[in-house]
Symmetry: C2
Subunit: 490 residues, 2 copies
């Protein structure tokens, strides 16, 4: 694959100077136009050792306006990164819309190195490449541009380079890479071939001549940014892509399989709740020792009692071990990224709990029903969410997803009660009543959500909620059972 | 000091239930009103071992609306935290305006523990308390409320508690604390007395009876939040506090001591630049090994050549070792916090460089001259900035502050040149011309800034900039000298 790149291409100093002047003007112009779009540009810098990737990064920074660019080097992994799912450190570096990020090292580096050094089987590499492909599709579907550069040197050119920079601190590591050049190139080729997609193609560049290398990279960058600028001009805003009328809900659904009317006595409630809270309390410490994290996610009808249930969970936990994330309107930093970004950022470190009060499922619930997300957006969200949850599961995160279910009558009763109780009044708004009118549309969205996102690694748990005592006991019970089982396995 | 707290106060279950109902209603109401103010509330939970601080945190979370509250436990320090100045992890947790943060553990914990265990001298504790006092004043000056709780147990009460929870995983540590109870209480008393200020007073609470403890904490929280709500209502918006007319600038100033006209030949430029870039390149690797971080901060007149100078610095650095932060308009997450927050968040880990293109000095430059900050705000900013930089210096950060200076004539020449050069046109805007008209006001602000913030630990370096070659060489030279000297010392 790389033979086509090893062509010893060169650019003279004069040609370089001349071409750069024009290129630079155009790059700045493109960057300036990009600023007002909804797209961000991710530039991935990768390639063989000795290709002087640092030089390319510096050159691009020299040409571009630094106000709309950030550089991220994925090099030393910090413990905060190591203690979270693999992709976390990359999500952390996602650029806001209208700007660029240059990623020196990327989600490709570790998998390729692992495979080249024989730590990973081919199938592990392939599986990781599939996940990366999904990540990249998710980003490009959201309008972002991913430009993947691979800077290549033939074995003889690499040897020449490495000898030439004897003083550099990386020499030792570099020698090691030279020794494993063939393995490294084979692993890279395998990774590249699997991820050379239409939406995020690879650009292989001969790195023997610095001027050729930088000019080529700059030109490709310009071309790809122009492409997205053109596309933004041509595609009309989304009116035509608004959700179609949804078919009305008929027949028995997933939600109907739950006995919402289930009841429990006060005495039984107290006994059971205490029992499972005690269990959860102990398990949280065990999970901490075992370095396993827990994500407990709560969705449910308005007034279903999510908040009260969450407090019964946290009452069992030491305050040092958990965070509760209440999902409200996104901040502008959040709006400027893919919708999953705001959930990635709050993932717990290994050994801790994060409890989400509402979640990433807003995309296929309120955003779908209220038309905040276009149909194509919420349609592909099911797959995006499954991929996200798979990433958590792979890292060993114990994920529990609760849907707290109540009947429409019970909701009405609670709304009225809230209006009558002084310290509950702030919990009931016009919006709640408006949402209630769309009960059937929500029911349909919920059913579809539960069906499409109940995976083996992240099943939904539907909790009967008309009796709050029942839902609280069942949640704490289910959670402690799940954590217990998960801790037994590993 | 603590004797006044050890009064074995108790609250009966009936009284508790009755009082909580009213308290909770009022707390929710206060929290709801707080939402629309510019104040955030920081609740610090501290006290002796066995006081069940986790229980208080859970109770407050039970009473309050979780949508506007976040809990932060400062317990395990991550390496990302350890590799930055001490206060970084707390700045990281600062709540946005209108919300609350409950801090379990705080900036007090480590200093008190260090002193109690004999790792720190009294003078070290006192010095740290002074810095904390300044941090708290900075926050309360900005309109935030700091509520500091100390939950106390007498020695005999603590012993009783610790025996009672034999199953708890902290037992071992708890026993250790019991042994050092007297030392711990003495250190705490010393810390508390020094930081019991009018703007951020301590609230000592007897923790023997859980109900008394929680009710008392809840009531104080309510009272303090109400205070700030009252204050917000009474104080008129800031029209009356707008900057007074500034005296015109006369006589010779700090800036005049620099020979802006200094020149250098092309040959000399090339030779010198390469020499100091080579030096800086090596030093950056040495700094990484020595785990020392560098903050290089660039301020200067519009068109002074900051960007070009920064590129000459980064050209000498491996792209993995530095980040450039271009300071533009703050995001809403940044606006929702103290103005220094956005600079704290980008501080480098030990071993890395962060380069700020414009900086925290915006507060006393553009915000002062344009009236974006009130006079009292920019007046106190000098002290706040000095404190911030002292925090960096104490941690061992190598801080270089450059003012790139050009004459008014040279600026005019460059503005015109920018308008005539295609790829520089985006760099010149109406705003630049408007700022230029305020040259004298800026000159006064700059002089005052340099005088008030040139400290022994963070001196200003004024760079002559009419000849870009001179400024670039001087910056790279100064930076490499500073890094070299700093590395020799430790």
């Amino acid at each position: 694959m790389f033979e086509a790149v090893e062509l010893h291409k060169k650019v003279s100093k004069e040609d370089f100077t001349k071409e750069v002047l024009e290129l630079r003007t155009q790059l700045l112009k493109a960057q300036y136009e990009l600023k007002d779009t909804k797209s961000s540009v991710i530039v991935i810098i990768s390639g063989v050792e000795g290709a002087n990737k640092s030089g390319v990064v510096n050159r691009l920074n020299e040409w571009l306006d630094s106000r709309w660019i950030r550089n991220h080097a994925f090099w030393d992994e910090t413990d905060e990164e190591r203690l979270r799912p693999f992709q976390w450190r990359f999500w952390r570096a996602m650029p806001p819309r209208g700007t660029m990020a240059i990623m020196f090292g990327s989600w490709y580096t570790q998998p390729i190195v692992n495979h080249a050094l024989g730590k990973w089987h081919g199938s592990q590499l392939d599986a990781e490449m599939r996940r990366i492909e999904e990540l990249e599709r998710m980003l490009t579907d959201d309008g972002h541009v991913i430009i993947k550069f691979w800077f290549h040197l033939s074995k003889s050119a690499e040897r020449k380079r490495l000898k030439g920079k004897a003083k550099n601190r990386l020499t030792k590591l570099a020698k090691k890479y030279l020794k494993s050049y063939d393995d490294f190139v084979a692993s890279s080729a395998r990774a590249i071939q699997q991820t050379d997609t239409g939406n995020a193609p690879w650009h292989l560049i001969d790195a023997e001549d610095n001027r050729y290398r930088d000019l080529k990279a700059g030109k490709i960058l310009l071309e790809r940014v122009r492409e997205i600028l053109e596309r933004q001009k041509s595609s009309a805003p989304s009116a035509s892509r608004a959700p179609k009328t949804m078919p009305t809900l008929t027949g028995r659904t997933v939600l109907d399989t739950v006995d919402v009317e289930k009841k429990i006595s006060d005495a039984e409630y107290k006994k059971q709740l205490e029992k499972y809270q005690d269990r959860l309390r102990q398990l949280a410490w065990t999970a901490r020792e075992a370095r396993r994290s827990v994500v407990a996610m709560f969705e449910g009808w308005d007034a279903a009692g999510k908040g009260g249930a969450i407090r019964r969970v946290t009452a069992a936990l030491d305050a040092r071990l958990y965070s509760v994330i209440s999902v409200a309107a996104p901040t502008d930093e959040e709006k400027a990224r893919h919708y999953l970004w705001r959930f990635w950022r709050h993932l717990p470190r290994d050994g801790y709990f994060t409890i989400y009060d509402r979640s990433w499922y807003g995309r296929v619930l309120v955003e779908r029903v209220e038309g905040f997300a276009r149909q194509d957006e919420w349609m592909r969200a099911y797959q995006e969410i499954n991929d996200f949850e798979e990433n958590l599961a792979l890292h060993g995160v114990i994920l529990c997803k609760f849907w707290v279910h109540i009947s429409a009558d019970e909701q009405l009763r609670r709304f009225k009660e809230r209006e009558a109780t002084p310290w509950k009044q702030h919990k009931i708004t016009e919006e709640d009543w408006r949402n209630r009118e769309k009960w059937d549309a929500y029911a349909q969205a919920i059913n579809e959500m539960v069906m499409r996102t109940s995976t083996t690694f992240a099943p939904w748990t539907v909790i009967p909620g008309n009796d709050k005592k029942v839902s609280r006991v069942e949640i704490v019970k289910y959670l402690s059972n799940r954590v217990e089982k998960a801790l037994e396995k590993k």
